[in-house]
Amino acid sequence: MQFMLLFSRQGKLRLQKWYVPLSDKEKKKITRELVQTVLARKPKMCSFLEWRDLKIVYKRYASLYFCCAIEDQDNELITLEIIHRYVELLDKYFGSVCELDIIFNFEKAYFILDEFLLGGEAQETSKKNVLKAIEQADLLQEDAETPRSVLEEIGLT
């Protein structure tokens, strides 16, 4: 996979993940072009399209479009399910995820994506394992918090 974009029906970019080195200018140009192309498509249309020398796979979930660019030999249907699995992960983590969750907790959305996909390839497809990793990290934070405040209280810092 070369990149993944999340954008709203109004064309606002909510998340961008690039797995190939591109300049900021190119990224903006690609984003603008793709958002326009995808938003112009009608609901019943096919989820795949050829774009430059890439294949675009996209799917709409409520107000958000999830859009992936894959290479010629990559599998479109499995990419569609990558999108779905990511949505499931977000949903499970946030509890019926909505666009606002992704706006306000964008960093979490990135962390979850990094656990699931790395370098554009599926790293861990088990929903349980991905969420376990994220929750462990959340716990780590709380653990780290507690001893420090205890230490502070007794004036050891």
């Binding site: 970019l13 249907l77 499995i78 907790n105």
Partner: protein, 928 residues
């Protein structure tokens, strides 16, 4: 604001995001952002040391601002500080910032790499994963240099946690993609391959992506993965839908891993070991069988995952192309999908069938679906699906169904989306040519194409129909008759006029016996279109007219009258005017014999690959392997390379030109092949003689973009053609391995040379070993320049990018046009150019012979006119010329005063532009 805020909330961040969302206008948003940036800047600069939490919060805000599309130029240092925090979320935000906003600041990279190194050696798996994610996200060369040797160790170490192994595998993959030279698997190869056997499905899923990429580059070293992959696949395929627990996705066992395994197998030929092969065939059959079973769930996820595996299996079957039974089964399965209610499946089935159509085992099976595919072309509501249907029709076309398919495609063209018309036109043209049994059908088809979609018929297409008509006597009469009829239409496309003009000019005599298409009727028909056409078409028509004079002497008076009228002979377009003048003179001066020689019928073209096919390949091609570009050159002082190639010997020029295709024509592959019959040098000098007798009428260039007249070609004054030969040693370069920069990028680079307009033709993506390719550069001078342009040739050879930089022998004097003038005129202008900056002078010692003839040759080679009897001192030389640039004409006067005793020269230049005086003076001083 939503209530969700797991882990640790950052209240300040949430408030800021709310503020931004509440902004009513773009201006308000920018104002709010600037306020926040100022705030963060002051916090970072303040005396009070920030605690980790605040630092994290501000870095996170900066990240948010950046992701909104604003530039961020600070905060990197604070983010790097976060990396060394021992609190997970602070570290995590630091890494996220670095991953999104990489900075090539070397000082920073060192610090980042240091932090990564610490985390990698921390033995804390969560920290290790964060560090690996960062490397995989950034993937820069510096990181590859620092970590490429460390990561394989982590990947195969026995005590590494599974989650770390997964990250390490994909991290290594990313580094391998950016810097393959730095990732050396060597000793690790076998242990990496054995990760396919790992207990943990997640490890296998991650590792297989790495193994697939490595196998593509080094198939032999990784060969052992084939049998491992087959047995892994077999275990998954035969497992029950619940065996794999959380790796089962909507009742489909491990769909991602299955697809990746099938993809890995496509890097290799079918397994040689009979048992392995048998097992694999069994797997593929099971996958095909499962497609027929009733679905275990109504959810689209279930069918998508199942069909993803099916399509990947079909790809493997097509890749092997050796199992007729499986190929036919695959084709039948796809045939079912062609009528499926899911648009996605119809799309993929059409796409996949395209590749099946090229296999000899399944071509016939694919053909049985022709009606369904034609129906899809007519009824699909989504243009991308229709496009796939058109592709498939093209792929399944052969002699038996060509007429039906071409007819369907033609009728589709009338309503086709604009975005795909050009490609459709090319495809129709190719099919019509390839499967033409009788060429009258071919001619009809192409003329129909022009009628239906004239705007999308590129030059390649109409040139090609002319090539074919010229090469086949049996179709010439029919072609003349058909174009004559087509031109009767009240509104016909300009491309039709071009084809009509060319064909009637060559073969109008074949239909002239019929009084309804007598020579004059033909001429009047063509001429009735003349005024509606663009300049290039008019130029072509003028050439058709002179051919008419030869074919039908009875039209001579009428045509001469047309040529003589003011709108032709005084046309403001130089090209048209020149043709009118030259053709008029030619028709009145030359004898019938000479006329018949010059205007003889075009000789047949050598058989070659269709230029249309080449164009289609280019349209669809995988990006070029060799890319030519011009770059700015800062070096001063190019060599003056103006010797013989610009001399006065026009006959020699015409002769040499015959072997060097002129720039405008070579793209089309027509003109370069034209001069075959008569000896070109003779014909060229013959014409030059005619013109020089004719007096002042333009003696120099007769350039025909259409290649209609033979042996008349000379370069235009504002262009230079140049032959660049690519070195052909690339025999070991495999065609598709190295992704080259896309062509569009190269095009942009070409325009980096702002003072010259350089046109090149696209280059084939691959140069075979020992082969040579020609690149013709067409250069127009936009404004005067001093640095010679550089030709930068990039290509891949043996996997590595090669870069050759050649200086082009293009100097400002190449754009000279000589100007004859009298002594009086010369000195009058000399005095007009009297401002000090307009003059450039040099006094220098002679480096070469001061022989008069040599000096004269050099000065003529410069491109100016050498004026006799102008300077009172006969020892001196004076020259005059005009430099033609796009923007302006720069008049130049030159005086060279040799002093034989002192072996010295004084060179003076006066030009209407001071930079030109200086540049010419520098250039010339080196020559004497």
């Amino acid at each position: 604001m939503p209530a969700v805020s797991k882990g640790d909330g950052m209240r300040g961040l949430a408030v800021f995001i709310s503020d931004i969302r509440n902004c009513k206008s773009k201006e308000a948003e920018i104002k709010r952002i600037n306020k926040e940036l100022a705030n963060i800047r002051s916090k970072f600069k303040g005396d009070k040391a920030l605690d980790g939490y605040s630092k994290k919060k501000y870095v996170c805000k900066l990240l948010f601002i950046f992701l909104l599309g604003h530039d961020i130029d600070f905060g990197h240092m604070e983010a790097v500080n976060l990396l060394s925090s021992n609190k997970y979320t602070e570290k995590q935000i630091g890494y996220l910032f670095i991953s999104v906003l990489v900075n090539s600041n070397s000082e920073l990279i060192r610090l980042i790499n240091n932090a990564i190194k610490n985390d990698l050696s921390s033995r804390n798996p969560t920290f290790m994963c964060l560090a690996l994610h960062c490397i995989a996200n950034v993937g820069s060369r510096e990181m590859a240099e620092a970590f490429a040797s460390e990561i394989p160790r982590i990947l195969v170490a026995g005590d590494t946690m599974d989650s770390v192994k997964q990250s390490a595998a994909l991290c290594l993959l990313r580094l391998y993609k950016t810097s393959p030279d730095l990732v050396l698997m060597g000793e690790w190869t076998s242990r990496v391959v054995h990760l396919l056997n790992d207990q943990h499905m997640g490890v296998v899923t991650a590792a297989i992506s790495l193994i697939t990429c490595l196998s593509q580059k080094n198939p032999d070293e990784f060969k052992t993965c084939v049998s491992l992959a087959v047995s892994r696949l077999s275990r998954i395929v035969s497992s029950a839908s619940t065996d794999l627990q959380d790796y089962t996705y909507y009742f489909v066992p491990a769909p991602w891993l299955s697809c990746k395994l099938l993809r890995l197998l496509q890097c290799y030929p079918p397994p040689e070991d009979g048992a392995v092969k048998g097992r694999l065939v069994e797997c593929l059959e099971t996958i095909l069988n499962k497609a027929q079973e009733p679905p275990k769930s109504k959810k689209v996820q279930h069918s998508n995952a199942k069909n993803a595996i099916l399509f990947e299996a079909i790809s493997l079957i097509i890749h092997y192309d050796s199992e007729p039974n499986l190929l036919v089964r695959a084709c039948n399965q796809l045939g079912q999908f062609l009528q499926h209610r899911e648009t996605n499946l119809r799309y993929l089935a059409l796409e996949s069938m395209c590749t099946l159509a090229s296999s000899e085992f399944s071509h016939e099976a694919v053909k049985t679906h022709i009606e369904t595919v034609i129906n899809a072309l007519k009824t699909e509501r989504d243009v991308s699906v229709r496009q796939r249907a058109a592709d498939l029709l093209y792929a399944m076309c052969d002699r038996s169904n060509a007429k039906q398919i071409v007819a369907e495609m033609l009728s589709y063209l009338e309503t086709a989306d604009y975005s795909i018309r050009e490609e459709m036109v090319l495809k129709v043209a190719i099919l019509a040519e390839k499967y033409a049994v009788d060429y009258s059908w071919y001619v009809d088809t192409i003329l129909n194409l022009i009628r239906i979609a004239g705007d999308y018929v590129s030059e390649e297409v109409w040139y090609r129909v002319i090539q074919i008509v010229i090469n086949r006597d049996d179709v010439q009469g029919y072609a003349a008759k058909t174009v004559f009829e087509a031109l009767q239409a009240p509104a016909c496309h300009e491309n039709m006029v071009k084809v009509g003009g060319y064909i009637l000019g060559e073969f109008g005599n074949l239909i002239a016996g019929d009084p309804r298409s007598s020579p004059l009727v033909q001429f009047n028909l063509l001429h009735s279109k003349f005024h509606l056409c663009s300049v290039p078409t008019r130029a072509l028509l003028l050439s058709a007219y002179i051919k008419f004079i030869n074919l039908f002497p009875e039209t001579k008076a009428t045509i001469q009258e047309v040529l003589r009228c003011d709108s032709q002979i005084r046309n403001s377009d130089v090209e048209l005017q020149q043709r009118a003048v030259e053709y008029l003179k030619l028709s009145s001066i030359a004898s019938t014999d000479v006329l018949a020689t010059v205007l003889e019928e075009m000789p047949p073209f050598p058989e070659r690959e269709s230029s249309i096919l080449a164009k289609l390949k280019k349209k669809k091609g995988p990006g070029a392997v060799s890319v030519t570009e011009l770059e700015d050159n800062k070096r001063e002082g190019g060599e003056l390379n103006g010797g013989g190639d610009r001399g006065p010997d026009t006959a020699a020029m015409a002769a040499s030109n015959a072997s060097t295709p002129s720039p405008s024509a070579d793209l089309l592959g027509i003109r370069s092949a034209a001069p075959i019959g008569a000896a070109p040098a003779n014909a060229g000098s013959l014409l030059v003689d005619v013109f020089s007798e004719a007096g002042p009428a333009a003696p120099s260039a007769a350039v025909n973009d259409d290649g209609f007249l033979r042996d008349l070609e000379q370069p235009t004054e504002t262009s230079d053609s140049l032959l660049v030969e690519g070195s052909g040693d690339s025999d070991s370069a495999p065609p598709s391995e190295d992704p080259a920069p896309p062509l569009s990028e190269a095009d942009e680079l070409l325009n980096n040379w702002p003072k010259l307009n350089v046109q090149t033709k696209p280059v084939e993506p691959l140069v075979e070993g020992g082969a040579q390719i020609q690149q013709v550069l067409n250069i127009e001078c936009l404004t005067d320049f001093s640095d010679a342009p550089l030709l930068n040739i990039k290509f891949r050879y043996g996997g590595a990018l090669q870069n050759l930089t050649l200086k082009l022998p293009v100097t400002i004097n190449k754009f000279f046009q000589p100007t004859e003038m009298t002594s009086h005129d010369f000195f009058q202008r000399w005095k007009q150019l009297s401002q000090p900056q307009q003059e450039a002078q040099k006094i220098f010692k002679a480096n070469h012979s001061m022989d008069t003839e040599v000096l004269k040759a050099k000065l003529l080679g410069l491109g100016t006119a050498l004026l006799d009897n102008v300077d009172p001192n006969p020892e001196n030389y004076v020259c005059a010329g005009v430099i033609q640039t796009k923007g302006q004409q720069v008049g130049c006067l030159l005086r060279l005063e040799p002093n034989a005793q002192a072996q010295m020269y004084r060179l003076t230049l006066r030009c209407s532009k001071d930079s030109v005086s200086r540049r010419l003076c520098e250039l010339l001083a080196e020559q004497f």
